[in-house]
């Protein structure tokens, strides 16, 4: 009877990148168990963020926001429109998020993806229901002419967490908006053609609040909370929690979707972290 004396050799050995492709969840778990993520961040860490104002000179207001590898450009254009019959002194705010194939190979050409539409809807609800702007400020002539602000967010590079980047860019762009002061004369709206815009011939928007958000994902059936997910993390994680807060610490939106049930304590943790994050982000935006 033979006896095996040699030690059993490992069945397979992989390089780290092969292992990541074959077992993405296992690869991830190995990092999470040590309290870090593959890109070196702590579980609660947000990626480096930059904000630049006034990047588009053809727009009334614009901003570019980078959160890690996700880059979005937001342009706001003001156009004259007729107000609705039931709200004759209110203007319009029309946000739209565009996720096209240029920003990632994950998006196919064609009509807007579900993710783009969901993000547009989320931003729309924050703007309307938290009353970021009093729509009456956009009135030119009651019942005849109002300003319609088209807020277009174009993603040029997508690496997860489009909502946070898009919302920050919308807020930054709105703060950057300058609209020429109009005069209304017998059905025609006139603006001055002066090249330089100053406080006499133009006005800035009066924002009631600046809601900013922090998004998280849940890994391994709601046990681990990861802040500011990148694309790889979004693909393998199940649940998403987003909290949007304003400067006074009031919550403007809270959404928890997917990933099974979460205890209220996890949501409370998200709210606390979101308040910290929005403070940091606000300080960053103030510097410009």
């Amino acid at each position: 009877m033979t006896s095996t004396s040699a030690a059993p050799s490992p069945a397979f050995t992989f390089s780290a990148s092969t292992f990541q492709k074959l077992h993405p969840a296992e690869y991830f778990r190995k990092f999470i168990s040590q309290g870090v993520r593959p890109d070196g961040r702590l579980l609660t860490g947000f990626r480096p963020t930059t904000v630049h104002y006034g990047v588009i000179s053809t727009a009334n207001g614009s901003a570019m926001v980078r959160v890690g590898g996700t880059t979005v450009v937001c342009g706001v254009k003001a156009e004259v429109a007729e107000p609705r019959l039931d709200s004759p002194d209110q203007g319009y705010l029309v946000p739209n998020v565009d996720l096209s194939p240029i920003c990632s190979s994950a998006f196919r050409p064609g009509p807007p993806s579900e993710q783009a539409q969901v993000t547009s809807d989320a931003i729309d609800r924050v703007l309307k229901e938290s009353k970021v702007l009093d729509l009456k400020d956009l009135c030119i002539e009651e019942g005849k002419a109002v300003w319609s602000l088209w807020i277009d967010v174009v993603c040029v590079s997508y690496d997860g967490n489009i909502y946070d980047a898009a919302l920050a860019s919308v807020m930054a762009a709105l703060a950057n908006v300058r609209i020429r002061k109009p005069t209304y004369d017998e059905g025609i709206v006139k603006v001055s053609g002066a090249q330089e815009l100053d406080d006499d011939n133009s006005f800035k928007l009066n924002l009631n609040r600046t809601p900013l958000s922090a998004s998280f994902v849940l890994f391994d059936t709601s046990l681990e909370l990861l802040a500011d997910p990148n694309f790889a993390e979004e693909s393998i994680c199940e649940g998403q929690i987003s909290v949007t807060v304003d400067e006074e610490g009031q919550i403007c939106a809270l959404s928890k979707v997917g990933g099974g049930s979460s205890s209220p304590s996890i949501l409370k943790e998200c709210v606390d972290r979101a308040k910290e994050r929005s403070k940091d982000l606000r300080a960053l935006m103030q510097q410009q």
Binding site: V118, S120, I251, C252, A253, L267
Partner: protein
Amino acid sequence: MARLDRTRTANQLRPFFSSQNLLNRADGSAQFDFGGSSVLCSVVGPAEVKIRDEKLDRATIEVIARPLVGLPGIKDKSRERSIRETLEPLILSGLHPRTGIQIVVQTMKDDGCILSTAFNATVLALLDAGIPLNSILGSVTCIVDEKSGEILLDPTTEELSQAKSTHVFVFDNKSSISTTGAAAMDLDSESSPILFSDSTGLYTEEEYFKCANICHKAAQTVHGFIRTAVQKKLEKEYQQTHA
């Protein structure tokens, strides 16, 4: 304070109504009403799915939401995503790999709280279709009134227009209500794990968790109603087949 419709208190839901097995061509269907809001849901599955959508180890769940009037827009896409992501962990999709389950949610009447009504209709339709679930869910909406600051359950469209904040919650029936009143506000007690939450408007953290607790208690009523509805349907079916 009396509410706008003068018949309810702040903590009262509108009368429920539900009906199952309405559609001939669907595997399961159900209609659920919260007072004047009504949503019809149909479920087809497990059925064949396009190869590019096929998942090797589980069923692919697709949700289509249709509005009351007009073409579907971004709000409907949002509803689709909410329903799909919430139901995915509940449906035992591993039992039906490489198939598809298609859920269509059609708004029939709109008097507020359409998302909650849709969630409840979907669960009834899934049960009607015999899709295995590891728990049922119940959804309610509440608002914080602009003027009075009161929390009102199950608001109508009129009440929603005067809301300072709107909160939609979905709870599963795995947890039970904590019996002591103090623990109802205790966040550490894991007493009311939330399956889905979508809140917009302007509110504080305290208001949010208060709404969560109130909605949790109301969701128990919805769970009870779903149970009763399915029970009655099964009794009737049994009588018909064994008569």
